[in-house]
Every structure is written in structure tokens, then in C-alpha cells.
């Protein structure tokens, strides 16, 4: 039976997945911003084993909350939200981090190429227009390195491959719901989607500094991030592509 297209029907709506770990001070503000957007959106906050009041703050702001029983890592948290979107038949998904660095107003630009069927996944890049918060120097070095690697591996130029601000259609959502790295998943996800024949696009976005709290990626972690993802990319290149998801 075909779905009717009434408001609230997941077949025409976007599920915004907000992974959050100890973001009590940020998540409510972000959800209130989301509510003001004139887009058919539903938000789900995936509380990744927070020890503060993240889940309560999200519920108080009217979002649905998925509570992981312990800290599983950003990738596992995002994947949980994607699995919910897949189960409920959402047409599109988007990811916004719970730390408030991603401006929800960018969602319209991210969703436009998906609605126009010109891309399966659209990444918000802070480096296309070079406006707003440009992240730490260590992370910028990592981004350049991954950008060069992706050019070799996928033959595609992605200016901001570590960006966690993206939107995906149902096909890409199904692929990522089936396989998504549990930590530092962004670059791996791009490679995985390209190998499954998906089209990736980028749009310029303006990122913000955190509203409250501290970033988890410092210089040693950035180095570990680069090493881990580079080896994972090399291993992924040698792995046979098995069709998954959509």
C-alpha cells in the first residue's frame, strides 16, 4: 500500500539525527533552533551514554530520545538514529552534532540536492567559502590529508571530509545504517557510499564555535584519527565491495 503524503508521514519528512554525549548545555538550544525551521523535519537525539542531563534536556525540548546504555562512540550513536530512520521509512536523514557547532539553518541547502535527486549524500563543507569557525589547525591538516586521500581512492574532491554535517537520501541511509564505523566514521562513510555507487555532493556551510563544553578532538587524537582512518581506507580499498542497504 502506498503511503499517503500527509504532514507527519516519514515518506516525505527528514529525520535529523543528533548524536550527543554530555551535551546538556547545548542540545536544548539546538533543538529549539531546529523547531523554528520551515522544513518537514523530525529530530531524534541519540544520547550516547551521557552522565549529565542530556536525555532530559532533549526530551524537555520535545525531541525523541534514543538512550544508548553506555558510551558506544559517535559512529554507533549516529548509526542508531539511521536505523530508526530506516525502520520508520524516512525519505531523508540529516546529521547535526549535539555540541551546537552545526547551524541547523544549513539543512535547507543540504537537502536541496537530495530533493533534486542530484546526490545521494550532501556534505556541509566549512572550507568551500571559508566562513565561520574553521576548526583547530590539527584538524585542518587532517582534513587536507583526507581530502587528498579521497581524491586518490574515490577520484572525487571532497573539501571537508571530516564534516559531521550532512544529509542523505533513503538509499544512502540504508547503506550507512547497515555499516558505519563506530569512531571517526565520516571519511570511511564517504568511501563506502562511493563504492556502493552513490553520488556525493558538497555545499558550503558556516560552522560555529561550541556553545558550551570542550571538543573531544585534541592534537594527539587528531593524529590517531589520521592514522586510524588512513589504515581503514587502505584496508577498505582491498576489501571486496558487497552491496548493502538500498
Amino acid at each position: 500500500m502506498a503511503r499517503d503524503e500527509r504532514p507527519g508521514d516519514p515518506a516525505v519528512r527528514t529525520l535529523v539525527v543528533v548524536p550527543a554525549f554530555n551535551e546538556e548545555g547545548n542540545v536544548g538550544h539546538l533543538l529549539r533552533e531546529l523547531e523554528t525551521l520551515p522544513l518537514p523535519l523530525d529530530a531524534v537525539v541519540v544520547d550516547d551514554g551521557s552522565v549529565d542531563g542530556t536525555a532530559a534536556a532533549a526530551a524537555a525540548a520535545g525531541a525523541r530520545v534514543l538512550r544508548l546504555p553506555f558510551n558506544c562512540g559517535i559512529g554507533a550513536a549516529v548509526q542508531t538514529g539511521l536505523r530508526l530512520a530506516l525502520d520508520e521509512g524516512y525519505a531523508r536523514t540529516a546529521r547535526l552534532d549535539g555540541d551546537g557547532q552545526h547551524d541547523p539553518r544549513a539543512l535547507a541547502a543540504l537537502l536541496a540536492p537530495i530533493d533534486a535527486a542530484s546526490a545521494d549524500m550532501v556534505i556541509g563543507s566549512r572550507y568551500l567559502d571559508r566562513q565561520g569557525f574553521q576548526s583547530s589547525p590539527a584538524r585542518r591538516v587532517g582534513s587536507r590529508w583526507f581530502s587528498a586521500l579521497l581524491r586518490v581512492v574515490c577520484g572525487q574532491r571532497i573539501s571537508d571530509p571530516t564534516s559531521g554535517l550532512w544529509a542523505a537520501n533513503a538509499r544512502a541511509t540504508a547503506i550507512l545504517a547497515a555499516e558505519y564505523a563506530s569512531d571517526y566514521p565520516e571519511v570511511d562513510a564517504v568511501v563506502h557510499l562511493v563504492r556502493q555507487g552513490c553520488t556525493i555532493a558538497e555545499v558550503p556551510v558556516v560552522m560555529r564555535a561550541r556553545h558550551a563544553g570542550r571538543s573531544s578532538i585534541d592534537a594527539p587524537r587528531a593524529l590517531y584519527y589520521m592514522l586510524k582512518v588512513t589504515i581503514a581506507l587502505a584496508a577498505g580499498r582491498l576489501r571486496r565491495a558487497v552491496p548493502t542497504g538500498g
Binding site: 541519540v46 525523541r64 530520545v65 534514543l66 538512550r67 544508548l68 546504555p69 553506555f70 558506544c72 562512540g73 554507533a76 548509526q79 542508531t80 536505523r83 530508526l84 525502520d87 563506530s182
Partner: protein, 120 residues
């Protein structure tokens, strides 16, 4: 057959380790796919201590003139293989654990949603 002291010590140690492994199997403390490598490892020294000639010949063929050194080489390689195997097992468990955590979060969400209208 003349037994040398080291053969008696190695055989006794090997049998003792095999006995411990067997007891762990009997108490179901070792999972079935994990106990076989341990039983093999525990009985290997027993076989080797009574079967010295091929061992010595293999050591000389490899250019090792102090024969027990070959035992250390195999021992270290065996330990590394076992650690690698255990890391694979732990990785599988971690992946399954994450999947279960996700399932728990999704089911708890569905349960809360189902209970909400009932509570009014």
C-alpha cells in the same frame, strides 16, 4: 627407554596444563571453539620432549645450533597467534555488543512510545 630429568619435568608440566584445560572444559568455563587450541598447546611440549630428533634436525636445518631456541621461537609465535585470535574474538564481541546496545535503545524508545498513550 632412558628418561632424562628435563623430559619428566616437561611431561609433568604439559600434563598438568592439559589437566587444567580439561577441568575448565568440564566446568564449561572455556567455550567450545576456544578450548581446542589450548588443549593442543598444552600437549605440544609433551610430544616434543619425547620426539627430540626431528626437532633437533629442524633446528639445524634452520641454522639454529642451540636447539631449545627453536622452542622459544615457536612459543613466541604461538603466543602471538593466540593473542591475535583473542583480539579477533574481542572485536567480534565488541561489534555484537554495540549492535545489542543499539537494539536496546531502539526497543526502549518503542516501549516508551507504546506506554505513553496508556499512561494518558
Amino acid at each position: 627407554m632412558h628418561l632424562r630429568l628435563f623430559q619428566v619435568v616437561v611431561a609433568a608440566s604439559s600434563l598438568a596444563l592439559a589437566g587444567v584445560v580439561f577441568e575448565l572444559i568440564r566446568r564449561r568455563k572455556l567455550k567450545d571453539e576456544l578450548w581446542l587450541p589450548w588443549l593442543f598447546v598444552s600437549l605440544m611440549p609433551l610430544v616434543m620432549s619425547f620426539w627430540l630428533e626431528p626437532w633437533n634436525a629442524a633446528a639445524h636445518w634452520l641454522g639454529i645450533w642451540y636447539e631449545p631456541a627453536l622452542l622459544f621461537v615457536f612459543g613466541i609465535l604461538g603466543c602471538l597467534a593466540l593473542i591475535l585470535y583473542l583480539t579477533v574474538v574481542v572485536s567480534t564481541l565488541m561489534r555484537q555488543n554495540l549492535r545489542l546496545a543499539q537494539d536496546l535503545a531502539l526497543l526502549r524508545h518503542r516501549m516508551d512510545a507504546a506506554e505513553r498513550p496508556a499512561r494518558g
